[in-house]
């Protein structure tokens, strides 16, 4: 049986979660590997959640927020961008492949974009193989 990665998605309530809802309403199909966790703002996503997800068995973590400038809370997504940039540097130092953690923007009207990001991410993580933690 081929490897089916587990991907955790942190989606902000106002743009990305709504975009994922629209994707469903429009019946745009994507791989069922992603498990979505709703947060009010991508700014709530502590880097610790991402590390926690990887240590709890996720093979990839996707963080989605509103497009820059469109944040429902004015600028939460900019904070996320800053944190994710730093986190990614740290992950690289830990030897964790770049494609396992991704930050992107999906608006409430971008159902199809959501599906394509999830599809892309799933394929990428599938190619990387299972996330193995070395102790």
């Amino acid at each position: 049986m081929s490897f089916e990665p587990k991907i955790v998605g942190f989606l902000c309530n106002w743009c990305s979660y709504a975009g994922a809802d629209l994707c469903g309403t429009s019946r745009v199909q994507y791989p069922p590997n992603i498990r979505i966790i709703r947060v009010m703002c991508s700014g709530r996503v502590s880097p610790l959640f991402i590390l926690k997800a990887l240590s709890a068995g996720a093979d990839g973590v996707l963080v989605l927020g509103c497009h820059p400038g469109d944040c429902h809370y004015i600028e939460g997504n900019y904070k996320t961008l800053r944190r994710m940039t730093l986190l990614k540097k740290m992950l690289a130092q830990l030897g964790i492949e770049d494609g396992r953690v991704r930050l992107d923007w999906v608006s409430a009207s971008e159902g199809a974009r959501f599906a394509s990001i999830v599809t892309e991410m799933t394929e990428k993580v599938k190619a990387l193989g299972p996330f193995k933690q070395s102790s």
Partner: protein, 653 residues
Amino acid sequence: MDEPRIGVYICHCGLNIADVVDVESVRNYAAMLPAVVVSRDYKFVCSDPGQNMIKEDIRNLHLNRVVVASCSPRMHEPTFRRTVQEAGLNPYLFQMANIREHCSWVTGDRQAATEKAKALVNAAVRRVYYHEPLEARQVPVNPNTLIVGGGIAGIQAALEIADSQHKVYLVERDPSIGGHMIQFDKTFPTLDCSACILTPKMTSVGTHPYIELLTYSEIEEISGFVGNFKARIRKKARYVDENKCNGCGTCVAKCPWKVDSEFDLGLSKRKAIYTPFPQAVPNIPVIDKEHCAYFLKGTCRACEKFCQLNAIDFNQTDEILELDVGNIIVATGYDVFDPTPIAQYGYKKFPNVYTGLEFERICNSVGPTNGRIVLRDGSEPKSVAIIHCVGSRDENYHEYCSRVCCMYALKYSHLIKERTNAQVYQMYIDMRCFGKAYEEFYKRVSNEGVNFIRGKVAEVTDRAINEEEKGKLIVCVEDTLLGKIVRVPVDMVILATALQPRSDVAQVARLFGITQTADGFFMERHPKLDPVATMTDGVFVAGCCQGPKDIPDTVAQASAAAARVLALISKGKVDLEAATAVIDEQQCSGCRICNSLCPYSAISFLEEKKVSQINEALCKGCGTCVAACPSGAITHRQFTTQQITIELEGVLV
């Protein structure tokens, strides 16, 4: 805390979920999860019997936590929170698992979908275990309303609200209200005179004791939240004192400087001091600084000389107003598609090719030709072609249908037939006459001898290939009903140009915190069930800024927006987000990292205690500070680190 007793309800949603997800298997799985007392599946959990089932279980089985696995929480979380509340539970002791939009609707793989549904239910059950009861806070609603845009939508909404004796600020950026509708001559399908039905409403707005009309004004900033917005408005200098001017028009008559009239789309001239049209509300002219000789060269002042009321004031400056309002209705309208890029239709190349709105002005009895349908040389056309779907239903420009073009094309056909002896040709893709009495109007116009040619026009050219075509504009089109290419020589071409979002729509969307749909128009909260509200509470949309629509639909939406605002005013208070953040003083190290992160300046530093504190009235519950706190001293209610971590582990089973 009482020992959690959780009830789980798996919804079939008819076949929407049950067709792909094995709901019985999910139900059995949930029944085995810790603290789950009862697990059921049901056809429609959101229906009355479904909700009653939950309420009875809460009472009979002493449930103190509830999980519903169904659609998106954005759809029915409020419904089920109410359900549990009616049965005596705190509404926050509830969690939803989205197994429709995020599961059954996005995959056909039954096994994978069922596994995913189980994981989502598992996460919800584990999460709800740690939920705490929360109390929603209430704040009073400021009864004043801000309406942005003085077209028919803004006018209608303003009158509805003001007639209920609540204050309205109507802001319009042009010198007069009226919008596009006042540019029209007749309205389809009844052929009502547009000005006759609109000007009484405009006058009412201008004189209404509960409406403060701010024309020639623009919104610069909006802050605050539902019930308590603050708006900063720039009232541009008119250089005419509104309190002194009586609208006599002498200044306009005496002004020697002429420029293209925006109102007539450049088909006529106006003065450098002007009102856009004679019935303008307010009937107070403005000086166009860009074209006024005094501002450009320092001489002239003719208007000042002849004004007996000394109303001209060249030293006037922009005024900044700060308004407190409880609700906002955005009714900023649309732009007309500019067909210049479609070079093959010859707009701007051939003088007798007009846009829809230009022809509207030509038809208008107070327009540039006093309502006579004539060519640029003043002669009457012997034949006119109307080309449909210019800029709309076209992948190169706008994919959407503009909804009004078929009908206004029919209206033009009728007016041309009524006022001239010209032959009229309509080149259409599909006739879309969907409204009340629209199809009947189509039939009527068909019987008036208008020629309908089904096909997308390839080209408008002046290259004649025979005597008959000489000096004419030739419309080349494949008549798809006859299956052959036809060349139709005409004197005048009208392009049924699309409605499109305003050029500054993105800027306005940001100003008010509104989302845009892919086509650029403002996005409503729900496409079916909430086409008036937006994602920002207290901000409503009406008219074409939300999508192309005709006048009846615009009026209906504007009235609906007004009703929504009145509902909030009449309730007098709004519930605020209970899921706010709170700082534990014991754990706070006083590092102040959170202070500058808060976009609402809700966090302040208490010097005497050396700790930070969150003002709950200002906190919107985004959680950005929570993620940043190095001491873990901030708790985000309903999104605690523990709850999210448990949910995270839950989805990874």
